[in-house]
Subunit: 338 residues, 2 copies
Amino acid sequence: MSVTINDVARLSGVSKRTVSRVINCSPAVGEATRERVLEIIKETGFSPDKQARGLASSRSYLLGLIYDNPDALYIDQVQRGALSVCAELGYELVVHPGSSKHEDFIDDCLRFISRSKLDGVIILPPVSENKALAAALREAQCPYVRLASVDLDDADNIVVSDERAAMRDMASHLVELGHTDIGFISGPQHFRSSTERLAGFLAELQVYNVQLPDSRIVEGKNNYESGLMCAQTLLDTPNRPTAIVANNDEMAAAALRVASNLNIKVPDELSVAGFDDNILASRIIPSLTTIRRPVYNMACLAVQKLINKSRATKEKLPLQKTVTPTLVKRESTGQCSE
Amino acid sequence: MSVTINDVARLSGVSKRTVSRVINCSPAVGEATRERVLEIIKETGFSPDKQARGLASSRSYLLGLIYDNPDALYIDQVQRGALSVCAELGYELVVHPGSSKHEDFIDDCLRFISRSKLDGVIILPPVSENKALAAALREAQCPYVRLASVDLDDADNIVVSDERAAMRDMASHLVELGHTDIGFISGPQHFRSSTERLAGFLAELQVYNVQLPDSRIVEGKNNYESGLMCAQTLLDTPNRPTAIVANNDEMAAAALRVASNLNIKVPDELSVAGFDDNILASRIIPSLTTIRRPVYNMACLAVQKLINKSRATKEKLPLQKTVTPTLVKRESTGQCSE
DNA sequence: TTGTAAGCGTTATCAA
DNA sequence: TTGATAACGCTTACAA
């Protein structure tokens, strides 16, 4: 029914081996021959069978996406970014949301990979910080690229967003609005992304000679509920900060909620900022000052790096390692009133 | 390196054909033989190669997910639901966000399917309403299941959420709060989901003998920006409704924003409701009364239906066609003050 | 530069 | 109930 390599070979009067060479862009084909074959391929609409190809060459033209984070918006952008590059190169994307807490997680990922002989995987934060997973993938010889906030792997294996720098911008934004007493709702400190963001923020405050006592830093779990509790701690006291920065938009939204409950006006009496720029940030009232990572582009880079690995050394594209998030200023931060 | 069917055959002293029968659960295998083979399979950790299997049997064990809607939350839930069933049955999920506006869209989907010889696809709204796509899939003999708000296909090919009924609940919720002058921000009327929701809403109002003049119904585009304009039309006038219902949460959020700009208190002076129960709905202030579809379960059902199609008639599971969304009451709707 | 022949790991045909 | 043997559509030694 559908056109095979044999049909193309017959029609163009060459061997299937030559057709194979053409579709694989082998240089060892005469110009005339190549053109004739390409002609026939176009005429017949031939498209090589992935399974057969994979069976013969042990490749699948399938890339995997491993993640745990339930931040749907982020994931959707990653998928679209990754697919934009996949489409050009004939790869497909197979998704694998897992639960990194599960003891079986790493084996589960390895099975996922071997089941479909994936040509490589992209790993999203926070799973991307998992050293054991990365080690297991290296051992299994599975190409991978991690998206992360810290430089924790070779340039070939990672796309880093410089969140430390982004949080410096956030700090200077607030200080320049006059804030010197700032509360910080951090993420879990066992995540590098959390420590990184906090470190960047504190480092920039230093520059302005602003101190942040430990009592102003409370650790959340990156979800709404924990954000509520942390914000409550920071705000439900006469001695409250004039600004709150949260490790992500979910917790910043929680801070807005607590402020609303306590009848504290944002931004007049309190500034609030988040991190992620998810859909919430632009829709919530007041809209949220936050930090946006170039997620789509990071995913593009990741796929390119993955595919680079299967190229000959001289054909490798030079690809950047680090991308820069940007500060998005909105309604929730304003001049300090005190 | 990895164990193949030949190894299993040799080790268990039978032909590979017999091993094949065992792994495919053919009844034509002696009990003793079957057990011996299963034993060896367990010992060796043999797992049949998908590509080889697919090449020989023209199946891929790959399901596709086709969508256009950029509602990320919804899509993430669908993916997780679908995968929960896929995992049990050894299928993987390949994603394909497209743009249904593109003239090439249907061909693009067909190529997507044939490229990887997908065993079936799930189509999400609003693309799921596309008749031409469904027809093309039938012609291409590609099994599909549509997730939709209206019963527009055979029970085997669709999972319907009864949005008409859900909107009846919404209407009665508002009427019982005392609202009789209600504004409705509809979705594009060329979508069945839009007409269906509006129809359900109006039908229930009839029951209460409440009239909705045409001027109270404005058509949005299901996005935030159009929601802003529609809400402005309805609210920025002395003669404004006491409640606004929007076709989705994005536009309801826009209504909240416009109300905030016009200094109209929600829910004291105005009730607002949406549809979707996306992350926005629970985080925004005031939190949004809305309707939640059992998206995860719908996706589970869709995969089961897809796989049912490749089963023998007598092994087919009976699967429901319709699911029921639920009304989620939150802060944004309250007693009518007039 | 091109072709021949042997796989890749399954399932399918047909006979025993 | 079983088993040889031939596909499936492609890539890859190895020759020529």
